[in-house]
Subunit: 210 residues, 2 copies
DNA sequence: ACATTTGAACTGACTGGTCAGTGCAAAAGT
DNA sequence: ACTTTTGCACTGACCAGTCAGTTCAAATGT
C-alpha cells in the first residue's frame, strides 16, 4: 500500500502525477477555446512541463483528449450511479431517486465545470474521431435515468404515457443547461437554490397541480 | 419590394446571393467541425466559389463567422417573438403560451439544426471574440420565457415559489437538448412526438399529479 | 560508505506541413 | 463602364509531432 512503490498498472507515481497535471491543463484550455484552437505548446506550458513530455505520455493530441474524456466520464457515471443506488431501489419513491440524481449532476458540474462545458460543446459534433467515446458516455448517463423512469412506470408511480428515452434526454438536458447557465451567468446562486428550482420543475409544481 | 432591384444597404442581388451561399456552406462545416478546424478553402469549395471571393465579401474568416451568427440570430429571435405573440397575451393560459414556445423552438431547430448545434457549442465558451453576440441572443430568448412565467405567477396560474430566471433557463435547456438529441440520435421521430413528450414534462404529468 | 550503471522520465530545438490572408490580371456578369 | 468573380501563385506565421541529448533516483557493484 506504499504509494511511492512501484504499484500495479504500469504507471509510476511520477508519471501519473504528470498525466494528471496535463489533464487539468488540457481540460480548462479546451473548454475555453475548443480542441482545435488549443495548441499542445499551451497545454504543456500551463501544465509546467516540456512539450516532449506530452508526447512521452500520450500518443497524440487527440489521444490525450480522448483519454481525458474517458477519465472525466468515469467520474460522472460513478457519481450518477452512486446517487441512484443511495436512494434505495425499491423502498423509496422514484421521484426521490430522480431528485437525487439531479443533485448529483449539479454537484458534479459544480466540481468540474470545465469538463462539462467541453463535453456539451463537443457532444453534437459529427465527423470527429472521438464521437463514439462521447456517445458511449451519453448513453451511460441517459441509461441510468431511463432505468429509474422505467422502474417508476412499472411501479405505477409515473404515467404509462411517458416516452422514456425522450423524457430522459430532456431531463439530462434540463440539468445540464440550467447548471451551465448557473455557473456562467448567475454564479452567486447556491447549489441548493438551483436544486430547489429544478426539483420544483420536475415535480410539476410549476404548472401542474394546485 | 422588388427583390432583384438595388435594395438599401449597398449589396447588389448577386453579391447577396454569394454571401448567402457562403453562410450556408460555413454554418454546416463549422457545426460539424468547429470554427478553428474549418478552413476557408473548404468553405469556398462547398459554396462553389473561389477563395478570393470569400475575401472580397468578408474582411476575414472571423468576420464571416460573426456576420453568420448575427444572421442566424435574427431568424431565431423573430421566430420566438412571433410565437409569443401568436398565443394572445391575456386571453389564453400561460401554460399554453409556454407550450407554443416549446413548439416554436422545436420548429426552429428542425429547420436550422446546424445553426443550433453551432450555437450551443459556442455559447458557454469564454475568451472568444463573439461571446457578447451570443449572450445577447441567449438573453433575448430567455427573457421571453421569463416574461410568460412572471405573467403566470401574477396570474395565479403558477406557484409564487418558482425561481423565474432559473426556471426559464432550465426550460430553454430542456428544449434545446431534447431537440438536439432528437436530431442526432432519434431522427426518425416526428416533431409532434417530441413536442408531446416535452409538453407532458412541462405540465407535470410525469410525476406530479396522480 | 562510495562509485558506477541503468533506464524511465523529461527536455526543447528542429522539421515538414498546413493554412489564413494577399496580389493581380483576366473573365464574366449587369 | 462598373462591379463582382475567378484562378492561382505566393508569403509568413503557426503548429503537431520528432529526436538526440539530459536528468535523476534507484539498483547494483566494490
Amino acid at each position: 500500500m506504499d504509494s511511492s512503490s512501484t504499484t500495479s498498472g504500469g504507471g509510476s507515481a511520477r508519471r501519473e502525477a504528470t498525466r494528471q497535471k496535463l489533464y487539468e491543463a488540457a481540460v480548462t484550455l479546451i473548454a475555453e477555446q475548443g480542441f482545435s484552437a488549443t495548441t499542445v505548446d499551451e497545454i504543456a506550458e500551463r501544465a509546467g512541463v516540456a512539450k516532449g513530455t506530452v508526447y512521452y505520455n500520450f500518443a497524440s493530441k487527440s489521444v490525450l483528449f480522448e483519454e481525458l474524456l474517458r477519465h472525466g466520464v468515469g467520474l460522472l457515471t460513478a457519481s450518477l450511479r452512486e446517487a441512484a443506488e443511495r436512494t434505495v431501489g425499491d423502498g423509496g419513491s422514484k421521484v426521490d431517486a430522480l431528485d437525487a440524481m439531479i443533485r448529483a449532476g449539479l454537484v458534479f458540474i459544480d466540481r468540474y465545470p470545465a469538463f462539462t462545458q467541453l463535453y456539451v460543446a463537443e457532444l453534437w459534433r459529427t465527423n470527429r474521431a472521438w464521437q463514439s467515446t462521447l456517445m458511449v458516455v451519453r448513453q451511460q448517463a441517459v441509461a441510468v435515468v431511463e432505468g429509474v423512469l422505467r422502474d417508476g412506470v412499472a411501479n405505477g408511480e409515473f404515467s404509462e404515457e411517458i416516452d422514456v428515452p425522450l423524457t430522459a434526454a430532456a431531463l439530462v438536458g434540463m440539468v445540464l443547461v440550467a447548471a451551465l447557465d448557473w455557473k456562467s451567468f448567475q454564479p452567486e446562486r447556491s447549489l441548493d437554490d438551483v436544486h430547489a428550482a429544478l426539483s420544483r420543475l420536475l415535480q410539476g409544481r410549476v404548472s401542474g397541480c394546485r
